[in-house]
């Protein structure tokens, strides 16, 4: 199964149709089916036009829209980088959601509890803890896989559910729960642990925060790690042929733990970014299924850091535009979820895309 998966998701050589055409067509097809679905549920043509216009306006139509798009894309790209890295090493990390929760919790605890540090120490410390706890949490699945062969899909699914319950528990602990509140909500992170906004000098309501820059750095770092370091080479060779990698002297078990650890750190950073840049505190649903959307982003981006960056921006645009669409056209934002699911299906089944628009392809399906 893994070989099969890899052939489709990861292309070693640049192939225009595989890398660019299919993702673009997949997105377009998903949007068209979304349209048809709206028609089927009885929306009028004009309203659908209004909906899709606002989807665009809300994502790219103004400076504020672009800021919202980038804000929504930041945690998605962080988490998707981790998932892509794991894909490359032949691992399926479904656990990003749990790692986001654990990382975010760590960040929020450091963020509100330490009040004597200056911002240049407090901020990195909170981010660091978010990353470390995300990494440790993911490493559980990696360690189990490496030592006992427990399948990472099952263990990460279970770890996701455990993380959800842990979050519920932590948010009701008196040390963490906001004073005077009965609902599960954490204390707010202090100003010294908030990621500063980077566009507020233009307009104060622009929410884009410095996590976006960190994310861009992460993209470059992951790219460098994957393609220009020995560790990255080991990751990729473990993914493409574990047996050959073993014979070549690559320690498979160590690689697995390391990959899961890095993936978890990136997911933890995604959680910390949401907490420290957008929400300012933790609530039961703060992870907002970013970890699952990130799977779609990693797939759409062909598990390549640059691809993930663009796929993440697209998904961020869908989320940001979806909000305006809901307000202006009365179309529920859940439509975006449907479109995302369809994108996953089309990306994972290029045959479907080829069958739907055969005239767009010059070459035959090689897989």
């Amino acid at each position: 199964m893994r070989d099969y998966l890899k052939k489709k998701i990861i292309s070693e050589n640049f192939d225009f149709e595989e890398i660019l055409l299919i993702p673009i067509l997949a997105t377009l097809l998903a949007l068209i089916i979304g349209c048809l679905f709206l028609l089927a549920t009885g929306e009028t043509f004009e309203n659908i036009l209004v909906a899709f216009t606002n989807l665009f306006i809300g994502s790219f139509g103004s400076l504020n829209a672009i800021s919202e798009t980038c804000t929504a894309a930041t945690p998605l790209i962080f988490a998707a980088l981790g998932i892509a890295l794991a894909f490359r090493a032949g691992l399926f990390n479904i656990g990003a959601e749990g790692q986001i929760i654990i990382g975010g919790m760590a960040a929020v605890i450091i963020g509100f509890s330490i009040d004597f540090l200056p911002i240049w120490l407090h901020l990195p410390l909170a981010l660091l803890f978010g990353a470390i706890f995300g990494a440790l949490y993911a490493a559980i699945a990696g360690w189990l896989k490496a030592t006992t062969g427990a399948h990472e899909v099952i263990s990460t699914i279970m770890l996701n559910l455990i993380a959800l319950r842990l979050l519920d528990y932590f948010l009701r602990l008196p040390v963490i729960q906001k004073e005077g509140r009965n609902d599960p909500i954490s204390k707010s992170v202090l100003e010294t642990a908030q990621l500063p906004q980077i566009l507020s000098f233009i307009e104060p309501q622009l929410r884009l925060h410095s996590g976006f820059i960190l994310m861009l750095v992460a993209v470059v770092l992951v790219y460098w790690l994957l393609f220009h370091t020995t560790i990255g080479f080991e990751f990729r060779s473990t993914g493409s042929n574990p047996n050959a990698a073993q014979y070549a002297g690559i320690k498979a078990s160590l690689t697995i733990i390391l990959v899961m650890g890095i993936a978890g750190a990136l997911a933890g950073l995604a959680g910390s970014n949401q907490i420290m840049g957008v929400l300012g505190r933790a609530t039961p649903g703060f992870s907002a299924s970013i970890g699952f959307d990130a799977i779609a982003v990693a797939l759409l981006g062909r598990s390549h850091p640059i691809g993930v960056l663009f796929a993440g921006l697209l998904f961020g645009a869908l989320i940001a535009g979806g909000r305006l669409m809901q307000v202006k056209a009365g179309v529920s934002i859940d439509l975006i979820t449907i479109i995302q699911a369809l994108i996953i299906v089309f990306i994972a089944a290029p045959l479907l895309v080829r069958n739907a628009v055969p005239w767009a392809f010059k070459t035959k399906d090689k897989s």
């Binding site: 199964m1 099969y4 998966l5 489709k8 549920t41 399926f92 479904i94 189990l144 030592t147 006992t148 062969g149 427990a150 399948h151 899909v153 099952i154 263990s155 699914i157 279970m158 770890l159 559910l161 455990i162 959800l164 319950r165 842990l166 519920d168 528990y169 009701r172 699952f292 799977i295 779609a296 797939l299 179309v331 529920s332 859940d334 439509l335 975006i336 979820t337 449907i338 479109i339 995302q340 699911a341 369809l342 996953i344 299906v345 994972a348 089944a349 045959l351 479907l352 897989s367």
Partner: protein, 429 residues
């Protein structure tokens, strides 16, 4: 060639493994011994001393035909006694290297640990044991059905992460069509729609060769998106579409009058009986019929099955669709069998717990039912703990099934073996 591709040596190794599993090996026995000692110390430390009063377990309700007296357990004495028994047994296993029946001892030890916990939590109070068992069976039902769906699908070597989504669409269609046309039609539609999603999964993984896990993830997201979208665009504005009749409990004459057992098993609604019947028929179907034999062959060694003339792909299509139908039925439990209305994401991870139950039950319907009952017990205990006001946070109890699954999958206790060809697409040469 029944052992195509296996050398004699491999078969020998397999036989040895089988022997080890049956009689238990020394490592596992030692682990069991230590665990029992730890349980014993834990019980006397936390549950044994410093509690007073008796734990009163109510076995009957006043209007039952036969009223049993309450079960009164002196809390402190009982727990200390159990703790000594466990420490003694554990020490005996460690010192004598008793390698046989170690899983049985471990199971008994866990059971006693749970009783001690209950006694400790109820000390000085009273608590309806029958009500708790009834709730256990009710809560185990969707988990067992999800597990059954998982078994049907994974026995033909198709991983089905999408069961959560199939439960969700089953719950949604049950609510909507149940409100429109009545409960039975609602149930039928839930099964049909669940089956369609099963078929979609089969189509994606068999025809379009989508990775099975990715397809499952996509189906979960799609189901969540579709049901949430339809809920917020239609059900919120038309509440009459979300007001389905509920299947009431059916009392089975005579049997329902048996104390404790009657209310637990024979005063339940259609879904509980349906789940039990489905577990039995699936067991028969998989293990006693020719079709079932072919199905297992497809899961273990599709190439061999193909050589013998089994149509691998159609067996997979049929069983994955069947799995979807079972999951749709299980999904209808959430609306038609319980509250009568649909809420967004109301299945709350039961599909995943079902997968866990499937693994625990070693891909066997009866085993999965047992595992589902244990998980259902944890689920209902969690509710009761709030009533008893114990200092233990209910979230940890809710986590227990997941932690247990990880421990089990990691092979620390017992072994889990999936069908051999699992996850691999079958490509005819």
């Amino acid at each position: 060639m029944p052992f195509h591709g296996h050398s004699k040596q491999k078969i020998k190794v397999k036989m040895n493994n089988f022997k080890q599993n049956k009689y238990g090996n020394e490592k596992q026995a030692l682990l069991t011994g230590y665990l029992l000692v730890v349980f014993g110390i834990f019980i006397s430390f936390f549950f044994g001393f410093g509690i007073d009063g008796d734990a009163v377990f109510k076995l009957s309700r006043p209007r039952d035909t036969f009223v049993l007296p309450n079960l009164v357990v002196p809390a402190s004495e009982y727990n200390i006694l159990v703790s000594f028994v466990l420490i003694f047994l554990g020490a005996r296993i460690i010192l004598r290297r008793m390698t046989s029946y170690s899983s049985l001892y471990l199971g008994a030890g866990l059971f006693l640990l749970v009783t001690c916990f209950l006694v400790w939590a109820t000390a000085g109070k009273s608590f309806s044991l029958t009500g708790m068992m009834q709730a256990t069976v009710i809560r185990a039902t969707p988990i067992a059905l999800a597990a059954l769906a998982g078994i049907l699908s994974e026995r033909v070597a198709i991983i089905n992460i999408g069961i959560e989504g199939m439960l969700l669409v089953g719950a949604f269609s049950g609510a909507v069509f149940g409100s429109l046309f009545g409960g039975i039609i609602g149930l039928i539609f839930a099964i049909i729609v669940g089956g369609l999603f099963g078929l979609l999964h089969a189509l994606l993984v068999i025809k379009y060769r989508v990775d099975q896990i990715i397809s499952g993830v996509a189906i979960n997201i799609l189901a969540l998106g579709l049901t949430s979208f339809l809920t917020s665009s239609f059900l919120k504005t038309n509440p009459e579409l979300n007001d389905a009749p509920i299947f009431r409990p059916i009392k089975i004459p005579f049997l329902s009058d048996i104390p404790v057992l009657g209310p637990t098993l024979f005063q339940q609604n259609f879904f509980v009986y349906g789940a039990i019947i489905l577990v039995l028929t699936t067991t028969y179907y998989i293990f006693k019929t020719g079709v079932g034999l072919r199905l297992r062959a497809v899961g273990e060694h599709p190439k061999a099955a193909d050589t013998l003339g089994v149509n691998v792909l159609s067996v997979r299509y049929i069983n994955v669709s069947l799995a979807g139908m079972v999951a749709g039925f299980g999904g209808a439990w959430f609306t038609l069998g319980s509250v009568g209305r649909f809420d967004e994401a109301m299945t709350g991870g039961r599909g995943f717990i079902g997968l866990a139950a499937m693994i625990f039950g070693r891909w066997h319907p009866v085993g999965a039912l047992m595992a589902a009952l244990i998980f259902g017990f944890a689920d209902s205990l969690q509710q009761k703990l709030a009533i008893l006001r114990t200092p233990i946070p209910s979230e940890f109890l809710a986590m227990a099934p997941y932690i247990a699954t990880i421990v089990f999958v990691a092979g620390l206790i017992g072994t889990a073996r999936a069908p051999h060809a699992i996850g691999k697409p079958y490509i005819k040469e």
